[in-house]
């Protein structure tokens, strides 16, 4: 039978107990790094080039947290008239615009007669750079 011996990284200092002593060393966990709120976090695939100005390219994975409120300036996944789009949320007063980060696209101005919903707030993005990486 195999036993796993927990490995403690902190040496024992005389006098002051270190609060870090309670924690076992673990490998870096990318879930922990990228996912703040697991039940509310979704991954989506970027398919367009409207956000290339801030480094979001087709094929990139955007990580979306639905629990966050969209605030002015946030990158969001929006539903506009039934279609998903990734844009920068531009809200001044009651006026909402969805800004692209690519000079070839003009902003989407949200009017009252449009169906608009914030589907989630983008918190990070992942891009595979080497051909051996699955994407």
């Amino acid at each position: 039978m195999t036993f796993f011996i927990p490995f403690m990284s902190d040496y024992v200092a005389a006098g002051f107990p270190s609060p870090a002593e309670d924690y076992l060393e673990r490998p870096l966990d990318f879930n922990e790094l990228l996912i703040q709120n697991p039940p509310a976090t979704f991954a989506v695939r970027i398919s367009g080039d409207s956000m290339t100005g801030i480094g979001l390219f087709p094929g990139d994975i955007a990580i979306v947290n639905r629990a966050l409120q969209a605030t002015h300036g946030a990158i969001i996944i929006a539903l506009v008239d039934g279609a998903f789009t990734i844009k920068r949320y531009d809200k001044r007063g009651v006026h909402v615009q969805l800004q692209a980060e690519n000079p070839h696209y003009s902003p989407i101005v949200i009017r009252d007669d449009m169906d608009f919903e914030v589907w989630g707030v983008v918190t990070s993005a992942i891009r595979m750079l080497h051909p051996t990486m699955k994407r």
């Binding site: 309670d22 076992l24 970027i46 398919s47 639905r66 699955k134």
Partner: protein
């Protein structure tokens, strides 16, 4: 007085599809059983159209098309993942959560100081925002009354999807207006026997003499009567599950660290779930396993995960299900965590007689069991998967008709939602 909330996802399968496919919103949507056989779930619009549960697809295909009904094959990978998310959100609101089925959970609200309907509305809007799934919430002093309250919340729009059945006067009124069959755990036959002794409504049952009920109908019906009075005494094992899912989960007496112990637990829950399923003459098309650490021990590193596996041929065979459960466990298990709880859920249930390949699926079939054992011996000796069930690995085309399957948005990298 204890207070229990039943949170029930609205039209769950259709709602899961809609989170990622907004074109389905406001439309009649039906989800088909394994092999696209018949309707197993409907959106509200499809219900309002009069489309029946169990309606065979091949007979109604043209009619649905003409009426603009959207059709989806059942996608258990998606529904299982969305269910785990909803339950995870609910856990933030109570230390005591009992998962009853893929889309229903009981929350113990004891010790919650906030006004309970406000609290429930907060739960409802949080689940909606975080997961995109709409829920209805019923509150009562017992599970049975919480279920009655939930039904009321679903049917009366003025409630906004949240209703507390705590006022004794309201309990009397509502129980007098319901049919016996509307009460959880009372099936048609039992209702007839109750009527035969003059108990015509749930209110009559509630007001009847406890000892009379126990002598005449047994302890489970006695519990139902007590529950209607607001005494919380029903265990989830007492009542048969809905036909959508079978769930077995337990917290361990002490925290488990070793894989072997966890594996033992998962295998025993799987065999319990398979037993329950066979009792209802059902077979499953999907098995999902979850494990979690104790989130109340803040100093412990936390981990929770679930994994679901599609079974090409529906089965109720304990051995086969246990193998798949172990496969799932191997994928999610991580060392150096102390686990508090594990669970097994069986989905995509269909009557055993409908299963295409009837040779291996019944564990009460002695021949099949012997074959299973022989197979296991060979596999142990010569390596895993030396011998496989013909249906298990090779995926015969006829057994996997899923022509309207939506992508597995939350479980496959290749299936992620595309955003322009």
């Amino acid at each position: 007085m204890p207070l229990i909330a039943l949170v029930d996802c609205n039209n769950f399968y259709a709602s899961c599809e809609r989170v990622f496919q907004p074109t389905l919103r406001g439309k009649a949507v039906v989800v088909l059983s394994n092999n696209d056989g018949c309707v197993i779930a409907r959106s509200q619009e499809a219900k309002d159209m009069g489309i029946a549960m169990g309606a065979p697809w091949h007979l109604n295909q043209r009619d649905y098309k003409a009426r603009g009904v959207y059709v989806r094959s059942s996608n258990y990978a998606l529904y299982g993942d969305m269910s785990a998310r909803v339950m995870e959100v609910l856990k933030q609101f109570t230390p005591q959560l009992e998962i009853y089925s893929i889309d229903e959970s009981f929350l113990n609200l004891d010790g919650i100081s906030a006004a309970h309907t406000d609290y429930a509305r907060n739960i409802k809007s949080t689940v909606q925002q975080w997961t995109g799934i709409g829920v209805s919430i019923g509150i009562g002093p017992s599970k049975t009354l919480a279920k009655v309250a939930n039904r009321y919340a679903k049917r009366h729009h003025a409630t906004g999807g949240v209703y507390a059945l705590t006022d004794p006067q309201a309990q009397e009124t509502i129980l007098s207006e319901l049919a016996l069959e509307d009460i959880w755990g009372i099936a048609h036959n039992l209702a007839r026997r109750l009527r035969a002794v003059g108990l015509n409504s749930p209110l009559d049952l509630r007001n009847s003499e406890t000892s009379f009920i126990r002598d005449r109908f047994g302890v489970v019906v006695e519990r139902i009567a007590r529950e209607l009075r607001g005494e919380s005494c029903l265990h989830l094992d007492d009542v048969t599950h809905d036909k959508k899912s079978i769930m077995v989960s337990r917290s361990f007496g002490h925290l488990i660290e070793h894989y072997q112990d966890l594996r033992e637990a998962v295998v025993s829950y799987t065999s319990r779930a398979a037993e329950k399923m066979r009792r209802q003459h059902l077979a499953a098309h999907h098995i999902s396993v979850f494990i979690e650490t104790n989130r109340f021990i803040k100093s412990d590193q936390q981990y929770r995960a679930h994994y679901g596996i599609d079974l090409p041929v529906a089965t109720s065979d304990t051995h086969l299900l246990a193998h798949r459960a172990i496969d799932a466990l191997k994928i999610i298990w991580r060392k150096n965590y102390r686990y508090k709880k594990a669970g097994v859920m069986l989905l995509g249930l269909e009557p055993i007689e409908q299963v295409n390949d009837g040779l291996f699926d019944r564990a009460d079939n002695a021949g099949a069991l012997k074959r299973m054992k022989a197979m296991d011996c060979i596999n142990q000796r010569f390596g895993h998967n030396t011998l496989m069930l013909a249906g298990a690995g090779m995926q015969p085309k006829w057994s996997l008709r899923r022509a309207f399957l939506s992508p597995s948005f939350t479980t496959h990298w290749d299936d992620l939602l595309k955003v322009d």
